[in-house]
Symmetry: C2
Subunit: 514 residues, 2 copies
């Protein structure tokens, strides 16, 4: 078979290649094709929601930012200023959360780059927030500005990664000016919705300014719609720290998107049970979402969770486990109970891009997909439980992510022409369908074309150097960086951005609040 | 966190380890926890079924075995003896298929080893039928008897692999006596349901004899229930060859199980569309199932498909692709239309146990799971599109298979105790749940314990030799083989089996029919 095919294709391709374009699947706006899975009954989801409200009401949540405590107090919450505990009555919470929008459109730098956040839509992000980067050529190192920029370029290249996340921490850039570096890279190398770090009001406001001006928006236009987002991790159990609370407030005021994601490991910072961990995560998310709505009713905000487990023998975090999977499923039930778009996460605890790494990330991915997650973060490249982003794993994981995207966008036909009784009639026993009319009409667009998979036989693969998927991935990311296919941008805006950054840097940058 | 945990665990473990046994999940009888996914509407599934019946009626199927043609003729089919084509009226087919049982219990060599085949049950098999074997110590080689025996031992070890498949072809054993070697290994090294090769009546009957006597069954007992199975691959398109037709007849007469699995690659031996390929596969499966029921109404038989696609650039087979996934989903709809248990397949076209290999096999696995497949073959170890079984991939894939099994067997609680408001009350902000009562009551059985995943941090992992999952898997399979935990067997039966084999070997073995 494999010997016949190239000949046959060679003969036909001369006449057909011009007429028949190859596949160009559009992964930019995905809908999840699967019905979300339920693990618990509706009454137990309600019981968890009720327990979360009881926790906020009776046990309270520690809120380190005085301004946030004042906002909660104004809404009627009981505050203990000495312990910084906020006791949130359930009506305060749910009256506020009721204002959160069920559908959010974030504007990208080009029309095709808008991102729709609502139940049913499906958005992928690569691994994010890592202190280290690694690749097969340069090894593992503390994340630096070059890594950040390269990973922006790689993220930009793949349509299936619709939003920019905080890929790696550029540790070689001083913290007072780091937001200039991260915004400059996202704006000039990408036209996707950028991520803004929540490290205090000064850096947030400057980031908003840079984005507004680079996109050519008036201040009113900028505030009329979301153009960027931040990620808010609570400090489980039951703590909201200063920069996170400030971020919620600042983003709500600016009508930009906060994605609220308590990060809880069952058995460590959360109860050992799925029901307990998600109840805690839900309580923290409700408090954070309520804060945004008390600041600005209708402010765009995304529910979220990232709940996995630890190894109970060593305390080591684990990802892509059955418990992580089930926690995602139950979190999805909570999100649907609220009706809000929500973020979930995949990931791996492996230390190298091997079979463990692939299996854990894909297992976690299916948890997110079947949970009906709106945004799936850490879907590609995340090693060591988030301590490292791997360039090669980014590529090999994207194969699985793109294959899921294919399930979203491919219209698998079931018409009489697809059933193809005529083709069955044409091809006799012992024959094959390579050259039949039904195949020739469809072969250029019939199948997903792999990113990094090598389907050649063992002999050919050996002749080509017996490369692993990781080794082939090195060539792929290097090729993307070399091609440097950054989007066309207005040169004057780039210049203005650089002038702004130079000026502010000369002024000493902006304070980091922690 | 990871520094605190070992201390805490060390302190508690002395008092708790005796009282609290670790996890011992039972993977032997699984039910699929997911609602099967539909891709096509019910009327289009019916249209495919109707097209398949039209194909059998109007286009016919080539049946190389005269006895099979005679059976079809006696049932009223139109036969062209010159072309060996059989034209099967739809009533003949469906009247026969209506007799196929919807639930089959296969008896293993021990009560816990019985296998239930019906819609909703879930059975895994490792990669099978490979001409080659490979491992990191000995490299890739033509499959031999030692490989066959070792892979039987590895399959026996893992409860999640409930049936024995034809793992590798022991090419160093002459074909006339090969069935003695494969039966001896399966019977003495395992108590799971064995696989019998369909290579003509003489070898099939001798295999039945060996199994019957080794299990201590009378002839009547043996024929009263299924104790073994065979796999029937049609030769797509529309051909049933001599050994396969003979196998269907012999197994039906003996009331043993045939698993009918047309192996079709979209664009090669089947139409390029999912609908067309599954229609062809369905037609061939119907003809084969009908043959079994014409021989013996009620004979145990399993519907099946293995439909993936080729790379349209090179003709190379591909597995674990989006099209493979969708074909599995649609095949599941056809199986549910008939109401029969059915077999589906995962797999990988990778040449080495890398991220591609893991991703393809797991992607294919999820296709089978969400399709509601009863038996998932090639779920672990299958490389090069089935040309090689890898010992290391067997282990690393089993991690994913066991994690799926966890989703089947783990009762994820949602009681008030699971929601754990008391634990939330006990642990204050900045605290952790490691030592709280709720955790201590549950930690020994809370989480899945990995088979090969290493969750240690980068430093520890590096100190331990920076081993990949594949390298760790080598140690695991070697440990299992060294432990040699074969089931207890009656020594006199082993002796009798060996005497039988010696005698028959001295007589020249049994003819292979092809």
């Amino acid at each position: 078979m494999s010997e016949q095919r190239p000949k046959r294709r060679g003969r036909r391709s001369r006449t057909t290649q011009q007429d028949k374009p190859g596949r160009a699947p559009d992964y930019r706006q995905l809908r999840n094709p699967f019905t979300p899975v339920d693990l618990f009954t509706a009454d137990r989801i309600e019981a968890m929601h009720d327990a979360a409200l009881s926790a906020l009401e009776e046990l309270g949540i520690k809120v380190l930012l005085p301004e946030a405590r004042a906002i909660f107090k104004a809404a009627g919450a009981r505050i203990d200023e000495h312990t910084e505990m906020v006791y949130l009555g359930r009506d305060i919470v749910m009256d506020a959360v009721a204002n959160a929008p069920r559908s959010i459109t974030m504007r990208g730098g080009a029309p095709g780059r808008d991102v729709l956040l609502e139940l049913g839509s499906l958005v992928f992000q690569p691994g994010a927030g890592a202190p280290h980067a690694t690749d097969l050529e340069r090894g593992r190192r503390p994340g630096n500005e070059r890594d950040f920029r390269e990973l922006i370029q790689l993220t930009q290249h793949f349509d299936v990664l619709q939003m920019m996340p905080p890929l790696v921490e550029p540790q070689d850039v001083p913290t007072r000016v780091r937001h200039y570096a991260t915004m400059e890279a996202q704006l000039t190398l990408s036209d996707k919705v950028p991520f803004v770090f929540s490290r205090g009001t000064p850096q947030i406001h400057e980031s908003f300014e840079m984005l507004r001006d680079f996109r050519g928006l008036s201040d009113a236009d900028f505030h009329a719609e979301p153009h960027c987002y931040t990620i808010i991790n609570t400090n489980s159990p039951r703590t909201l720290d200063i920069p996170m609370a400030q971020g919620l407030i600042d983003f709500a005021r600016a009508k930009q998107v906060s994605i609220v994601t308590p990060f809880t490991l069952m058995g460590a910072m959360a109860p050992v049970t799925v029901a307990g961990a998600i109840t805690l995560s839900h309580a923290e998310a409700l408090a954070a979402i309520a804060l945004t709505q008390l600041v600005q009713p209708g402010a765009p905000v995304c529910y979220g969770t990232f709940t996995s487990n630890v190894d109970m023998k060593s305390g080591a975090p684990a990802f892509g486990t059955p418990e992580h999977f089930n926690a995602s499923i139950v979190a999805g039930q909570m999100a649907r109970f609220l009706g809000l778009p929500w973020r979930c996460a995949s990931g791996s605890a492996a230390n190298i891009n091997d079979a463990q790494a692939a299996n854990e990330t894909q297992f976690g991915l299916w948890g997110c997909i079947l949970a009906g997650s709106t945004v799936v973060i850490h879907s590609a490249g995340w090693l060591e439980g988030g301590l490292t982003v791997s360039y090669e794993k980014l590529i090999t994981d994207l194969e699985a992510v793109q294959m899921v995207a294919e399930l979203c966008v491919t219209a698998t036909g079931s018409s009489d022409e697809d059933i193809a009784l005529d083709a069955l009639r044409e091809v006799q026993p012992s024959g094959h369908f390579f050259g039949c009319a039904h195949t020739m009409e469809r072969y250029t667009t019939a199948f997903y074309e792999p990113l990094v998979a090598d389907w050649s036989n063992f002999g050919t693969w050996t002749e080509n150097g017996s490369k692993t998927a990781s080794e082939r991935a090195t060539g792929i990311w290097k090729g993307i960086l070399a091609a440097d296919d950054r989007p066309a941008q207005d040169g004057t805006r780039i210049e203005a951005l650089h002038d702004y950054i130079d000026q502010r840097t000369a002024d000493g940058g902006a304070e980091v609040v922690s």
